[in-house]
Subunit: 166 residues, 2 copies
DNA sequence: AAAGATTGAGTTCTCAATCTTC
DNA sequence: GAAGATTGAGAACTCAATCTTT
């Protein structure tokens, strides 16, 4: 363990060094610009929000094309009630539907409707093209592989901390 | 170059390959978990949203501790009206204030108040500790340097595209 | 007319309370 | 009681319209 100066219970602060600070600001800035650009593209070309797109991605990629709301919640990391409200709206627009769940009467499966599948199939080419143009075309194959490794590692780290701390 | 099937003017779709797809999903997942965790921490320990924190970071880091709303907008990549509404709320809570701008009567400078500076100083240790624990402690110094390089490169790329395409 | 900024209406998200089934 | 899910009220965000100064 590190030797740290722990004064009477107050957690000692390990500030970010210069490199870390720059890296963090660069990351936050990049993400802000990237999502703003992707949102504009999706909205303009497909009339869909990133949130809608993400929901449909998870549904259509899931085995059987169906997920329980709590499974969607885990994948999206949204508030439970945000998932619930969002699904109500998407159902109202005809993009998703519910199917009774025989094993567990507390909830139903959520499924993409034919219209929902059509919507994401229509939206995907433009979205993927934007992701490619804005993100991958600027990276070498080695860097792409690295992004996956680092992102996976950090995601697991956050998971572990969330599991431990609540 | 790839051979792509370009039928009658429709943009040919270059789908993501397996590695790219995994990298992108890993990135999106990581960001979702990371921000969810950071938001919970900030909210629980400092009663502040990430949005509030970001505004105060930019204000306190700016030369003179003041920024015009449009400069904040550029840095945050928020909708212009989001900036406006958010500043009204933060001003109501006493975190920021306005100062007349002599050179340009269309707008005023936004400044962090003493309370605003106190709030971010109180929030920063916990937030920085979380960033370190969840993000940097999982990376080597070389990887940290790489994150900065890649993030900066992508951010510039997005900027350039946004400038070109509107 | 363009740039900087705000407003209001409508939509989406959060927080806490609630409900049902396990 | 815990897990899965919803609800409603209030807060935050978006979009379009507007206003003022340059």
């Amino acid at each position: 363990m590190d030797h740290v100066d722990d004064r009477g219970g107050a957690a000692p602060v390990r500030w970010l060094d210069e490199t870390e600070h720059r890296a963090w600001r660069a990351y936050v800035t990049m993400h802000g610009r990237l999502t703003a650009a992707l949102h504009r593209q999706l909205q303009a070309d497909a009339g869909m929000s990133i949130a809608d797109y993400e929901v449909l991605v998870h549904l259509t990629e899931a085995p059987g094309g169906r997920l329980r709301p709590y499974e969607l919640q885990r994948r999206l990391q949204w508030e439970q009630s945000r998932v619930s409200h969002h699904l109500v709206r998407m159902q109202r627009r005809g993009l998703v539907d519910r199917e009774a769940c025989r094993d567990d009467g507390r909830g139903a499966f959520v499924v993409a409707t034919a219209a929902g599948r059509a919507a994401i199939e229509a939206a995907a080419p433009g979205h993927v093209a934007a992701v490619r143009r804005l993100f991958f075309d600027g990276l070498t194959p080695e860097e792409v592989a690295l992004v996956e490794r680092l992102a996976s590692r950090v995601a697991e780290r956050v998971d572990a901390a969330a599991g431990a701390a609540g």
